[in-house]
Symmetry: D2
Protein backbone atom coordinates (compact mmCIF):
# COMPACT_ATOMS: atom_id res chain seq x y z
CA UNK A 1 0.00 0.00 0.00
CA UNK A 2 1.10 3.51 -0.75
CA UNK A 3 1.17 6.66 1.38
CA UNK A 4 0.09 10.10 0.18
CA UNK A 5 2.08 12.96 1.70
CA UNK A 6 0.28 16.28 1.59
CA UNK A 7 2.68 19.19 2.08
CA UNK A 8 1.13 22.32 3.58
CA UNK A 9 4.21 24.26 4.70
CA UNK A 10 5.08 24.94 8.32
CA UNK A 11 8.50 25.14 9.95
CA UNK A 12 9.41 21.89 8.19
CA UNK A 13 9.95 23.61 4.91
CA UNK A 14 11.14 27.07 5.92
CA UNK A 15 14.38 28.35 4.49
CA UNK A 16 16.71 31.21 5.24
CA UNK A 17 16.71 34.09 2.78
CA UNK A 18 20.28 35.31 2.87
CA UNK A 19 19.43 38.63 1.27
CA UNK A 20 16.75 39.69 3.74
CA UNK A 21 17.74 37.58 6.74
CA UNK A 22 14.17 36.30 6.97
CA UNK A 23 12.67 32.83 6.85
CA UNK A 24 10.53 32.01 3.86
CA UNK A 25 9.11 29.16 1.78
CA UNK A 26 10.59 27.99 -1.49
CA UNK A 27 10.15 24.34 -2.41
CA UNK A 28 9.34 21.46 -0.12
CA UNK A 29 12.25 19.37 1.19
CA UNK A 30 10.15 16.24 1.56
CA UNK A 31 11.51 14.47 -1.53
CA UNK A 32 15.08 15.10 -0.37
CA UNK A 33 14.23 13.83 3.11
CA UNK A 34 12.68 10.66 1.71
CA UNK A 35 15.86 10.04 -0.29
CA UNK A 36 18.00 10.59 2.79
CA UNK A 37 15.83 8.19 4.77
CA UNK A 38 16.13 5.68 1.89
CA UNK A 39 12.36 5.40 2.13
CA UNK A 40 11.19 2.18 0.53
CA UNK A 41 7.46 2.66 1.00
CA UNK A 42 5.67 3.82 -2.18
CA UNK A 43 4.94 7.48 -1.54
CA UNK A 44 3.15 10.17 -3.57
CA UNK A 45 4.15 13.69 -2.53
CA UNK A 46 1.76 16.54 -3.27
CA UNK A 47 2.35 20.16 -2.34
CA UNK A 48 -1.05 21.56 -1.38
CA UNK A 49 0.19 24.92 -0.13
CA UNK A 50 3.19 26.48 1.56
CA UNK A 51 1.71 28.20 4.56
CA UNK A 52 2.85 29.34 7.97
CA UNK A 53 0.24 27.59 10.11
CA UNK A 54 -0.53 30.78 12.04
CA UNK A 55 -1.79 32.24 8.76
CA UNK A 56 -3.87 29.25 7.77
CA UNK A 57 -7.54 30.00 7.12
CA UNK A 58 -10.68 27.87 7.23
CA UNK A 59 -10.56 27.87 3.45
CA UNK A 60 -7.02 26.43 3.56
CA UNK A 61 -8.21 23.70 5.92
CA UNK A 62 -11.09 22.90 3.59
CA UNK A 63 -8.60 22.55 0.75
CA UNK A 64 -6.48 20.12 2.78
CA UNK A 65 -9.60 18.12 3.60
CA UNK A 66 -10.57 18.00 -0.05
CA UNK A 67 -7.14 16.68 -0.99
CA UNK A 68 -7.38 14.01 1.71
CA UNK A 69 -10.71 12.93 0.25
CA UNK A 70 -9.54 12.97 -3.34
CA UNK A 71 -6.33 11.03 -2.69
CA UNK A 72 -6.61 7.42 -3.86
CA UNK A 73 -4.53 6.28 -0.86
CA UNK A 74 -5.93 5.14 2.50
CA UNK A 75 -2.82 6.30 4.34
CA UNK A 76 -2.17 10.04 4.44
CA UNK A 77 0.58 12.05 6.12
CA UNK A 78 0.08 15.82 6.28
CA UNK A 79 3.13 18.01 6.98
CA UNK A 80 1.90 21.09 8.80
CA UNK A 81 3.04 23.99 10.97
CA UNK A 82 2.87 23.02 14.62
CA UNK A 83 0.99 26.07 15.92
CA UNK A 84 -2.40 25.18 14.44
CA UNK A 85 -1.84 21.51 13.65
CA UNK A 86 -4.50 20.52 16.15
CA UNK A 87 -7.10 22.85 14.58
CA UNK A 88 -6.56 21.32 11.16
CA UNK A 89 -6.72 17.85 12.67
CA UNK A 90 -10.14 18.69 14.10
CA UNK A 91 -11.43 19.82 10.71
CA UNK A 92 -10.20 16.61 9.08
CA UNK A 93 -11.68 14.47 11.86
CA UNK A 94 -15.10 16.10 11.63
CA UNK A 95 -15.31 15.01 8.00
CA UNK A 96 -14.88 11.30 8.75
CA UNK A 97 -12.97 10.35 5.63
CA UNK A 98 -12.50 6.73 6.68
CA UNK A 99 -8.74 7.09 6.11
CA UNK A 100 -5.76 7.05 8.46
CA UNK A 101 -4.47 10.61 8.50
CA UNK A 102 -1.35 11.55 10.48
CA UNK A 103 -0.28 15.18 10.83
CA UNK A 104 3.34 15.93 11.59
CA UNK A 105 5.71 18.87 11.54
CA UNK A 106 8.96 20.18 12.91
CA UNK A 107 10.13 22.61 15.57
CA UNK A 108 13.25 23.49 13.56
CA UNK A 109 13.40 23.92 9.76
CA UNK A 110 14.84 20.98 7.87
CA UNK A 111 17.32 23.28 6.14
CA UNK A 112 18.95 23.87 9.54
CA UNK A 113 21.50 21.56 11.02
CA UNK A 114 19.55 20.47 14.06
CA UNK A 115 16.08 19.79 12.74
CA UNK A 116 13.73 17.23 14.22
CA UNK A 117 12.08 16.93 10.80
CA UNK A 118 13.66 13.66 9.63
CA UNK A 119 12.84 11.96 12.93
CA UNK A 120 9.22 13.13 12.74
CA UNK A 121 8.85 12.14 9.11
CA UNK A 122 10.12 8.63 9.84
CA UNK A 123 7.77 8.48 12.77
CA UNK A 124 4.65 9.69 10.93
CA UNK A 125 5.22 7.40 7.94
CA UNK A 126 5.47 4.47 10.34
CA UNK A 127 2.47 5.27 12.53
CA UNK A 128 0.19 5.76 9.54
CA UNK A 129 0.82 2.20 8.31
CA UNK A 130 -0.46 0.64 11.53
CA UNK A 131 -3.17 2.95 12.82
CA UNK A 132 -6.89 2.34 12.26
CA UNK A 133 -8.79 4.99 10.28
CA UNK A 134 -8.88 8.28 12.16
CA UNK A 135 -6.96 11.53 12.52
CA UNK A 136 -3.76 11.70 14.55
CA UNK A 137 -0.88 13.99 15.43
CA UNK A 138 2.61 12.43 15.39
CA UNK A 139 5.20 14.58 17.17
CA UNK A 140 8.08 13.87 19.56
CA UNK A 141 8.02 10.18 18.69
CA UNK A 142 4.49 9.90 20.06
CA UNK A 143 1.13 9.53 18.41
CA UNK A 144 -1.94 11.34 19.72
CA UNK A 145 -5.57 11.14 18.77
CA UNK A 146 -6.69 14.50 17.27
CA UNK A 147 -9.04 15.18 20.19
CA UNK A 148 -6.55 14.42 22.93
CA UNK A 149 -3.53 16.56 22.18
CA UNK A 150 -2.32 20.11 22.62
CA UNK A 151 0.91 21.92 21.91
CA UNK A 152 2.65 23.26 24.99
CA UNK A 153 3.93 26.51 23.52
CA UNK A 154 6.29 27.16 26.40
CA UNK A 155 8.08 23.82 26.20
CA UNK A 156 7.56 23.37 22.47
CA UNK A 157 6.28 19.82 22.80
CA UNK A 158 2.99 18.06 22.16
CA UNK A 159 1.23 16.36 25.03
CA UNK A 160 -1.98 14.64 26.02
CA UNK A 161 -4.80 16.78 27.36
CA UNK A 162 -5.05 15.67 30.95
CA UNK A 163 -8.66 15.45 32.13
Amino acid sequence: MAIRILVTGGTFDKEYDELTGRLYFKDSHIEEMLRLGRCGVPVAVETVMMRDSLEMTQRDRDTILMRCREAPEKWIVVTHGTDTMVETAAVLAAAATGKSIVLTGAMVPWAFGSSDGLFNLGSALSFVQLLPPGVYVAMNGRCFSWDNVRKDRVLGIFEKIEP
Copy 2:
Protein backbone atom coordinates in the same frame (compact mmCIF):
# COMPACT_ATOMS: atom_id res chain seq x y z
CA MET B 1 4.77 3.01 28.58
CA ALA B 2 8.47 3.24 28.12
CA ILE B 3 10.80 1.95 25.39
CA ARG B 4 14.14 0.25 26.05
CA ILE B 5 16.77 0.96 23.38
CA LEU B 6 19.53 -1.63 23.26
CA VAL B 7 22.59 -0.31 21.42
CA THR B 8 24.75 -2.98 19.76
CA GLY B 9 26.86 -0.88 17.37
CA GLY B 10 26.59 -1.11 13.60
CA THR B 11 26.99 1.61 11.02
CA PHE B 12 24.66 3.76 13.13
CA ASP B 13 27.37 4.56 15.61
CA LYS B 14 30.53 4.47 13.52
CA GLU B 15 32.84 7.43 13.58
CA TYR B 16 35.76 8.63 11.52
CA ASP B 17 39.18 8.38 13.13
CA GLU B 18 41.01 11.35 11.70
CA LEU B 19 44.43 10.00 12.65
CA THR B 20 44.11 6.63 10.93
CA GLY B 21 41.45 7.45 8.34
CA ARG B 22 39.46 4.44 9.49
CA LEU B 23 35.96 4.04 10.85
CA TYR B 24 35.65 2.98 14.48
CA PHE B 25 33.30 2.96 17.46
CA LYS B 26 33.48 5.44 20.31
CA ASP B 27 30.25 6.23 22.13
CA SER B 28 26.73 5.77 20.92
CA HIS B 29 24.98 8.76 19.34
CA ILE B 30 21.52 7.59 20.34
CA GLU B 31 21.08 10.06 23.20
CA GLU B 32 22.05 12.93 20.91
CA MET B 33 19.65 11.69 18.23
CA LEU B 34 16.80 11.46 20.73
CA ARG B 35 17.47 15.05 21.77
CA LEU B 36 17.50 16.18 18.15
CA GLY B 37 14.23 14.35 17.53
CA ARG B 38 12.81 16.00 20.67
CA CYS B 39 11.69 12.53 21.65
CA GLY B 40 8.93 12.71 24.24
CA VAL B 41 8.46 8.98 24.80
CA PRO B 42 10.12 7.74 28.01
CA VAL B 43 13.20 5.89 26.79
CA ALA B 44 15.96 3.96 28.59
CA VAL B 45 19.14 3.66 26.51
CA GLU B 46 21.52 0.80 27.26
CA THR B 47 24.74 0.13 25.37
CA VAL B 48 25.06 -3.65 25.18
CA MET B 49 28.08 -3.72 22.88
CA MET B 50 29.66 -1.75 20.06
CA ARG B 51 30.06 -4.30 17.31
CA ASP B 52 30.34 -4.36 13.56
CA SER B 53 27.53 -6.78 12.76
CA LEU B 54 29.77 -8.84 10.45
CA GLU B 55 31.85 -9.66 13.53
CA MET B 56 28.92 -10.53 15.75
CA THR B 57 29.06 -14.01 17.29
CA GLN B 58 26.39 -16.36 18.62
CA ARG B 59 27.56 -15.38 22.08
CA ASP B 60 26.91 -11.71 21.25
CA ARG B 61 23.42 -12.58 20.06
CA ASP B 62 22.77 -14.51 23.26
CA THR B 63 23.82 -11.45 25.22
CA ILE B 64 21.38 -9.26 23.27
CA LEU B 65 18.63 -11.79 23.91
CA MET B 66 19.41 -11.83 27.61
CA ARG B 67 19.15 -8.05 27.75
CA CYS B 68 15.81 -8.14 25.95
CA ARG B 69 14.54 -10.61 28.55
CA GLU B 70 15.90 -8.69 31.52
CA ALA B 71 14.55 -5.32 30.40
CA PRO B 72 11.47 -4.32 32.40
CA GLU B 73 9.95 -2.75 29.26
CA LYS B 74 7.60 -4.54 26.83
CA TRP B 75 8.77 -2.36 23.94
CA ILE B 76 12.34 -2.81 22.80
CA VAL B 77 14.29 -1.20 19.96
CA VAL B 78 17.66 -2.76 19.08
CA THR B 79 20.12 -0.71 17.02
CA HIS B 80 22.20 -3.12 14.99
CA GLY B 81 24.49 -3.39 11.97
CA THR B 82 22.46 -4.11 8.85
CA ASP B 83 24.53 -7.01 7.50
CA THR B 84 23.43 -9.57 10.08
CA MET B 85 20.36 -7.85 11.51
CA VAL B 86 18.15 -10.62 10.22
CA GLU B 87 20.26 -13.33 11.91
CA THR B 88 19.98 -11.61 15.26
CA ALA B 89 16.25 -11.14 14.72
CA ALA B 90 15.92 -14.91 14.22
CA VAL B 91 17.71 -15.61 17.50
CA LEU B 92 15.45 -13.20 19.36
CA ALA B 93 12.32 -14.62 17.73
CA ALA B 94 13.22 -18.22 18.60
CA ALA B 95 13.24 -17.26 22.26
CA ALA B 96 9.65 -16.01 22.29
CA THR B 97 10.07 -13.22 24.83
CA GLY B 98 6.48 -12.01 24.56
CA LYS B 99 7.75 -8.50 23.88
CA SER B 100 7.63 -6.26 20.84
CA ILE B 101 11.20 -6.06 19.59
CA VAL B 102 12.12 -3.88 16.61
CA LEU B 103 15.63 -3.96 15.12
CA THR B 104 16.84 -0.98 13.16
CA GLY B 105 20.09 0.40 11.83
CA ALA B 106 21.56 2.75 9.27
CA MET B 107 23.28 2.53 5.91
CA VAL B 108 25.34 5.65 6.63
CA PRO B 109 26.90 6.54 10.01
CA TRP B 110 25.03 9.16 12.00
CA ALA B 111 28.20 11.21 12.33
CA PHE B 112 28.10 11.78 8.55
CA GLY B 113 26.02 14.44 6.95
CA SER B 114 23.68 12.25 4.97
CA SER B 115 22.70 9.51 7.40
CA ASP B 116 19.39 7.71 7.33
CA GLY B 117 19.79 7.05 11.05
CA LEU B 118 17.42 9.69 12.41
CA PHE B 119 14.69 8.64 10.01
CA ASN B 120 15.08 4.99 10.98
CA LEU B 121 15.17 5.77 14.69
CA GLY B 122 11.94 7.77 14.45
CA SER B 123 10.43 4.94 12.47
CA ALA B 124 11.49 2.12 14.83
CA LEU B 125 10.35 3.99 17.95
CA SER B 126 6.95 4.47 16.34
CA PHE B 127 6.43 0.96 15.02
CA VAL B 128 7.32 -0.61 18.37
CA GLN B 129 4.50 1.25 20.12
CA LEU B 130 1.82 -0.25 17.90
CA LEU B 131 3.03 -3.72 16.97
CA PRO B 132 1.85 -6.88 18.74
CA PRO B 133 4.53 -8.95 20.53
CA GLY B 134 7.04 -10.36 18.06
CA VAL B 135 10.34 -9.56 16.40
CA TYR B 136 10.55 -7.09 13.52
CA VAL B 137 13.02 -5.26 11.31
CA ALA B 138 12.30 -1.57 10.66
CA MET B 139 14.29 -0.16 7.75
CA ASN B 140 13.49 2.15 4.83
CA GLY B 141 10.30 3.32 6.52
CA ARG B 142 8.92 -0.20 6.38
CA CYS B 143 8.38 -2.85 8.99
CA PHE B 144 9.06 -6.52 8.27
CA SER B 145 8.40 -9.61 10.29
CA TRP B 146 11.75 -11.23 11.22
CA ASP B 147 11.02 -14.29 9.07
CA ASN B 148 10.02 -12.39 5.96
CA VAL B 149 12.86 -10.00 5.27
CA ARG B 150 16.27 -9.97 3.66
CA LYS B 151 18.85 -7.31 2.93
CA ASP B 152 19.52 -6.77 -0.75
CA ARG B 153 23.26 -6.14 -0.53
CA VAL B 154 23.48 -4.79 -4.05
CA LEU B 155 20.80 -2.14 -3.62
CA GLY B 156 21.39 -1.64 0.09
CA ILE B 157 17.71 -1.93 1.01
CA PHE B 158 15.59 -4.35 2.98
CA GLU B 159 12.78 -6.18 1.24
CA LYS B 160 10.22 -8.91 1.67
CA ILE B 161 11.23 -12.45 0.79
CA GLU B 162 9.07 -13.23 -2.20
CA PRO B 163 7.83 -16.80 -2.15
Copy 3:
Protein backbone atom coordinates in the same frame (compact mmCIF):
# COMPACT_ATOMS: atom_id res chain seq x y z
CA MET C 1 51.93 35.79 16.94
CA ALA C 2 48.39 35.57 18.16
CA ILE C 3 45.11 36.77 16.68
CA ARG C 4 42.36 38.53 18.63
CA ILE C 5 38.84 37.72 17.42
CA LEU C 6 36.28 40.33 18.39
CA VAL C 7 32.75 38.97 18.13
CA THR C 8 30.05 41.56 17.46
CA GLY C 9 27.13 39.41 16.33
CA GLY C 10 25.72 39.44 12.81
CA THR C 11 24.27 36.60 10.79
CA PHE C 12 27.30 34.51 11.77
CA ASP C 13 25.95 33.88 15.22
CA LYS C 14 22.20 33.91 14.72
CA GLU C 15 20.18 30.95 15.91
CA TYR C 16 16.66 29.71 15.39
CA ASP C 17 14.28 30.07 18.32
CA GLU C 18 12.01 27.07 17.98
CA LEU C 19 9.35 28.50 20.26
CA THR C 20 8.85 31.79 18.41
CA GLY C 21 10.13 30.80 14.97
CA ARG C 22 12.41 33.84 15.00
CA LEU C 23 16.15 34.25 14.68
CA TYR C 24 17.99 35.50 17.73
CA PHE C 25 21.40 35.64 19.41
CA LYS C 26 22.50 33.31 22.17
CA ASP C 27 26.21 32.55 22.44
CA SER C 28 28.86 32.91 19.79
CA HIS C 29 29.77 29.84 17.74
CA ILE C 30 33.31 31.02 17.08
CA GLU C 31 34.98 28.67 19.57
CA GLU C 32 33.14 25.70 18.06
CA MET C 33 34.12 26.78 14.56
CA LEU C 34 37.78 27.10 15.54
CA ARG C 35 37.66 23.57 16.95
CA LEU C 36 36.08 22.28 13.76
CA GLY C 37 38.73 24.03 11.67
CA ARG C 38 41.39 22.51 13.97
CA CYS C 39 42.77 26.04 14.19
CA GLY C 40 46.39 25.94 15.33
CA VAL C 41 47.01 29.68 15.45
CA PRO C 42 46.90 31.09 19.00
CA VAL C 43 43.58 32.92 19.17
CA ALA C 44 41.88 34.98 21.88
CA VAL C 45 38.10 35.21 21.39
CA GLU C 46 36.25 38.12 22.97
CA THR C 47 32.53 38.74 22.64
CA VAL C 48 32.12 42.50 22.44
CA MET C 49 28.40 42.50 21.69
CA MET C 50 25.76 40.42 19.92
CA ARG C 51 24.19 42.84 17.52
CA ASP C 52 22.31 42.73 14.27
CA SER C 53 24.46 45.07 12.21
CA LEU C 54 21.42 47.05 11.02
CA GLU C 55 20.88 48.05 14.65
CA MET C 56 24.47 48.99 15.34
CA THR C 57 24.98 52.55 16.61
CA GLN C 58 27.93 54.92 16.52
CA ARG C 59 28.40 54.13 20.19
CA ASP C 60 28.67 50.41 19.33
CA ARG C 61 31.29 51.18 16.70
CA ASP C 62 33.23 53.26 19.20
CA THR C 63 33.17 50.30 21.56
CA ILE C 64 34.55 47.99 18.85
CA LEU C 65 37.28 50.53 18.10
CA MET C 66 38.19 50.74 21.77
CA ARG C 67 38.50 46.96 21.96
CA CYS C 68 40.74 46.94 18.87
CA ARG C 69 42.98 49.51 20.54
CA GLU C 70 43.08 47.75 23.90
CA ALA C 71 43.84 44.32 22.46
CA PRO C 72 47.49 43.36 22.96
CA GLU C 73 47.52 41.64 19.55
CA LYS C 74 48.55 43.26 16.27
CA TRP C 75 46.26 40.97 14.28
CA ILE C 76 42.53 41.42 14.79
CA VAL C 77 39.55 39.69 13.15
CA VAL C 78 36.12 41.25 13.77
CA THR C 79 33.04 39.11 13.08
CA HIS C 80 30.25 41.46 12.05
CA GLY C 81 26.89 41.60 10.32
CA THR C 82 27.34 42.17 6.61
CA ASP C 83 24.87 45.01 6.16
CA THR C 84 26.94 47.69 7.90
CA MET C 85 30.34 46.00 7.92
CA VAL C 86 31.74 48.68 5.65
CA GLU C 87 30.56 51.50 7.95
CA THR C 88 32.30 49.93 10.93
CA ALA C 89 35.42 49.38 8.84
CA ALA C 90 35.47 53.11 8.07
CA VAL C 91 35.27 54.02 11.76
CA LEU C 92 38.14 51.67 12.57
CA ALA C 93 40.23 52.96 9.67
CA ALA C 94 39.77 56.60 10.67
CA ALA C 95 41.35 55.84 14.01
CA ALA C 96 44.61 54.54 12.53
CA THR C 97 45.36 51.91 15.14
CA GLY C 98 48.48 50.64 13.37
CA LYS C 99 47.08 47.10 13.49
CA SER C 100 45.89 44.71 10.80
CA ILE C 101 42.12 44.50 11.24
CA VAL C 102 40.01 42.19 9.08
CA LEU C 103 36.22 42.25 9.27
CA THR C 104 34.30 39.20 8.17
CA GLY C 105 30.81 37.76 8.45
CA ALA C 106 28.41 35.32 6.92
CA MET C 107 25.39 35.39 4.64
CA VAL C 108 23.88 32.32 6.33
CA PRO C 109 23.94 31.61 10.10
CA TRP C 110 26.55 29.08 11.19
CA ALA C 111 23.85 27.07 12.97
CA PHE C 112 22.33 26.32 9.55
CA GLY C 113 23.54 23.55 7.32
CA SER C 114 24.73 25.64 4.42
CA SER C 115 26.62 28.47 6.05
CA ASP C 116 29.56 30.25 4.46
CA GLY C 117 30.80 31.08 7.95
CA LEU C 118 33.56 28.48 8.26
CA PHE C 119 34.96 29.38 4.85
CA ASN C 120 34.99 33.09 5.74
CA LEU C 121 36.54 32.49 9.15
CA GLY C 122 39.36 30.44 7.61
CA SER C 123 39.82 33.16 5.04
CA ALA C 124 39.87 36.10 7.48
CA LEU C 125 42.27 34.38 9.89
CA SER C 126 44.63 33.76 6.96
CA PHE C 127 44.50 37.22 5.39
CA VAL C 128 45.14 38.95 8.72
CA GLN C 129 48.45 37.14 9.15
CA LEU C 130 49.88 38.50 5.91
CA LEU C 131 48.36 41.94 5.44
CA PRO C 132 50.14 45.16 6.37
CA PRO C 133 48.51 47.34 9.05
CA GLY C 134 45.16 48.67 7.86
CA VAL C 135 41.47 47.84 7.85
CA TYR C 136 40.05 45.23 5.47
CA VAL C 137 36.89 43.33 4.65
CA ALA C 138 37.29 39.59 3.92
CA MET C 139 34.25 38.09 2.24
CA ASN C 140 33.70 35.61 -0.62
CA GLY C 141 37.33 34.49 -0.44
CA ARG C 142 38.46 37.98 -1.33
CA CYS C 143 40.07 40.75 0.65
CA PHE C 144 39.11 44.38 0.13
CA SER C 145 40.56 47.56 1.51
CA TRP C 146 37.94 49.27 3.73
CA ASP C 147 37.62 52.21 1.34
CA ASN C 148 37.18 50.16 -1.80
CA VAL C 149 34.35 47.77 -1.07
CA ARG C 150 30.58 47.71 -1.02
CA LYS C 151 27.98 45.04 -0.43
CA ASP C 152 25.76 44.33 -3.42
CA ARG C 153 22.50 43.77 -1.55
CA VAL C 154 20.78 42.26 -4.55
CA LEU C 155 23.41 39.60 -5.22
CA GLY C 156 24.50 39.27 -1.61
CA ILE C 157 28.19 39.56 -2.40
CA PHE C 158 30.95 42.06 -1.68
CA GLU C 159 32.70 43.78 -4.55
CA LYS C 160 35.16 46.50 -5.38
CA ILE C 161 33.82 50.00 -5.90
CA GLU C 162 34.46 50.61 -9.57
CA PRO C 163 35.63 54.14 -10.23
Copy 4:
Protein backbone atom coordinates in the same frame (compact mmCIF):
# COMPACT_ATOMS: atom_id res chain seq x y z
CA MET D 1 43.71 37.38 -10.96
CA ALA D 2 42.43 33.85 -10.98
CA ILE D 3 43.31 30.81 -8.88
CA ARG D 4 43.81 27.31 -10.28
CA ILE D 5 42.70 24.56 -7.91
CA LEU D 6 44.33 21.21 -8.64
CA VAL D 7 42.39 18.36 -7.02
CA THR D 8 44.48 15.28 -6.20
CA GLY D 9 42.21 13.42 -3.77
CA GLY D 10 43.01 12.94 -0.10
CA THR D 11 40.68 12.84 2.87
CA PHE D 12 39.06 16.02 1.53
CA ASP D 13 37.15 14.15 -1.11
CA LYS D 14 36.56 10.76 0.48
CA GLU D 15 33.04 9.41 0.65
CA TYR D 16 31.30 6.63 2.50
CA ASP D 17 30.26 3.65 0.41
CA GLU D 18 27.09 2.49 2.10
CA LEU D 19 27.20 -0.92 0.46
CA THR D 20 30.71 -1.89 1.56
CA GLY D 21 31.10 0.36 4.59
CA ARG D 22 34.40 1.61 3.19
CA LEU D 23 35.66 5.04 2.26
CA TYR D 24 36.27 5.71 -1.42
CA PHE D 25 36.59 8.45 -4.01
CA LYS D 26 33.81 9.50 -6.34
CA ASP D 27 33.80 13.09 -7.54
CA SER D 28 35.48 16.05 -5.97
CA HIS D 29 33.42 18.24 -3.63
CA ILE D 30 35.44 21.36 -4.37
CA GLU D 31 32.84 22.99 -6.61
CA GLU D 32 30.15 22.45 -3.99
CA MET D 33 32.41 23.87 -1.29
CA LEU D 34 33.17 26.96 -3.38
CA ARG D 35 29.43 27.52 -3.82
CA LEU D 36 28.85 27.12 -0.09
CA GLY D 37 31.65 29.59 0.63
CA ARG D 38 30.08 31.95 -1.94
CA CYS D 39 33.57 32.23 -3.39
CA GLY D 40 33.90 35.36 -5.50
CA VAL D 41 37.47 34.86 -6.67
CA PRO D 42 37.70 33.54 -10.25
CA VAL D 43 38.66 29.91 -9.82
CA ALA D 44 39.41 27.10 -12.30
CA VAL D 45 39.01 23.64 -10.76
CA GLU D 46 40.89 20.74 -12.35
CA THR D 47 40.79 17.18 -11.08
CA VAL D 48 44.29 15.78 -11.65
CA MET D 49 43.75 12.50 -9.82
CA MET D 50 41.79 11.03 -6.92
CA ARG D 51 44.45 9.46 -4.78
CA ASP D 52 44.94 8.49 -1.17
CA SER D 53 48.18 10.30 -0.47
CA LEU D 54 49.75 7.20 1.09
CA GLU D 55 49.47 5.60 -2.34
CA MET D 56 50.88 8.51 -4.28
CA THR D 57 53.91 7.69 -6.44
CA GLN D 58 56.76 9.79 -7.80
CA ARG D 59 55.02 9.61 -11.14
CA ASP D 60 51.86 11.08 -9.57
CA ARG D 61 53.92 13.92 -8.10
CA ASP D 62 55.49 14.58 -11.48
CA THR D 63 52.01 14.81 -12.96
CA ILE D 64 50.96 17.34 -10.34
CA LEU D 65 54.10 19.36 -11.04
CA MET D 66 53.39 19.29 -14.77
CA ARG D 67 49.87 20.60 -14.15
CA CYS D 68 51.24 23.40 -11.97
CA ARG D 69 53.58 24.39 -14.77
CA GLU D 70 50.97 24.20 -17.50
CA ALA D 71 48.35 26.18 -15.61
CA PRO D 72 48.06 29.72 -16.94
CA GLU D 73 47.48 31.03 -13.38
CA LYS D 74 50.19 32.30 -11.04
CA TRP D 75 48.19 31.27 -7.98
CA ILE D 76 47.69 27.56 -7.44
CA VAL D 77 45.97 25.65 -4.64
CA VAL D 78 46.53 21.89 -4.53
CA THR D 79 44.13 19.75 -2.47
CA HIS D 80 46.06 16.76 -1.24
CA GLY D 81 46.02 13.98 1.36
CA THR D 82 47.75 15.12 4.52
CA ASP D 83 50.03 12.10 5.02
CA THR D 84 52.43 12.91 2.18
CA MET D 85 51.54 16.53 1.52
CA VAL D 86 55.02 17.61 2.57
CA GLU D 87 56.70 15.17 0.14
CA THR D 88 54.70 16.54 -2.78
CA ALA D 89 55.47 20.09 -1.65
CA ALA D 90 59.20 19.27 -1.82
CA VAL D 91 58.87 17.98 -5.38
CA LEU D 92 57.02 21.12 -6.45
CA ALA D 93 59.53 23.37 -4.70
CA ALA D 94 62.54 21.70 -6.33
CA ALA D 95 61.14 22.60 -9.71
CA ALA D 96 61.03 26.35 -9.03
CA THR D 97 57.93 27.18 -11.04
CA GLY D 98 57.92 30.85 -10.06
CA LYS D 99 54.31 30.51 -8.93
CA SER D 100 52.65 30.69 -5.54
CA ILE D 101 51.55 27.14 -4.76
CA VAL D 102 49.61 26.33 -1.59
CA LEU D 103 48.84 22.73 -0.64
CA THR D 104 45.92 22.06 1.67
CA GLY D 105 43.80 19.14 2.80
CA ALA D 106 41.49 17.94 5.51
CA MET D 107 41.63 15.65 8.51
CA VAL D 108 37.96 14.70 8.11
CA PRO D 109 36.19 14.10 4.78
CA TRP D 110 34.03 16.97 3.58
CA ALA D 111 31.07 14.62 3.22
CA PHE D 112 31.07 14.18 7.01
CA GLY D 113 29.41 16.59 9.34
CA SER D 114 32.48 17.82 11.17
CA SER D 115 35.02 18.40 8.44
CA ASP D 116 37.75 21.01 8.62
CA GLY D 117 37.74 21.12 4.82
CA LEU D 118 35.78 24.34 4.30
CA PHE D 119 37.93 26.18 6.83
CA ASN D 120 41.11 24.98 5.13
CA LEU D 121 39.85 25.79 1.66
CA GLY D 122 38.98 29.35 2.72
CA SER D 123 42.39 29.61 4.31
CA ALA D 124 44.40 28.27 1.35
CA LEU D 125 42.55 30.43 -1.19
CA SER D 126 43.35 33.48 0.93
CA PHE D 127 47.01 32.75 1.63
CA VAL D 128 47.75 32.09 -2.03
CA GLN D 129 46.61 35.58 -3.01
CA LEU D 130 49.15 37.29 -0.77
CA LEU D 131 52.19 35.01 -0.67
CA PRO D 132 55.28 35.56 -2.82
CA PRO D 133 56.16 32.79 -5.31
CA GLY D 134 57.09 29.59 -3.52
CA VAL D 135 55.55 26.40 -2.19
CA TYR D 136 53.55 26.35 1.03
CA VAL D 137 51.37 24.12 3.19
CA ALA D 138 48.20 25.73 4.61
CA MET D 139 46.67 23.70 7.44
CA ASN D 140 45.13 24.55 10.82
CA GLY D 141 44.76 28.20 9.82
CA ARG D 142 48.52 28.49 9.49
CA CYS D 143 50.83 28.76 6.52
CA PHE D 144 54.19 26.96 6.47
CA SER D 145 57.03 27.09 4.01
CA TRP D 146 57.42 23.67 2.34
CA ASP D 147 60.81 23.10 3.97
CA ASN D 148 59.76 24.00 7.48
CA VAL D 149 56.72 21.86 8.22
CA ARG D 150 55.88 18.35 9.32
CA LYS D 151 52.67 16.54 10.18
CA ASP D 152 52.46 15.37 13.77
CA ARG D 153 50.70 12.06 13.16
CA VAL D 154 49.84 11.59 16.82
CA LEU D 155 48.10 14.93 17.25
CA GLY D 156 46.94 15.20 13.65
CA ILE D 157 48.21 18.75 13.21
CA PHE D 158 50.87 20.44 11.12
CA GLU D 159 53.69 22.27 12.85
CA LYS D 160 56.99 23.98 12.27
CA ILE D 161 60.13 21.90 12.35
CA GLU D 162 61.91 23.20 15.40
CA PRO D 163 65.66 23.42 14.89
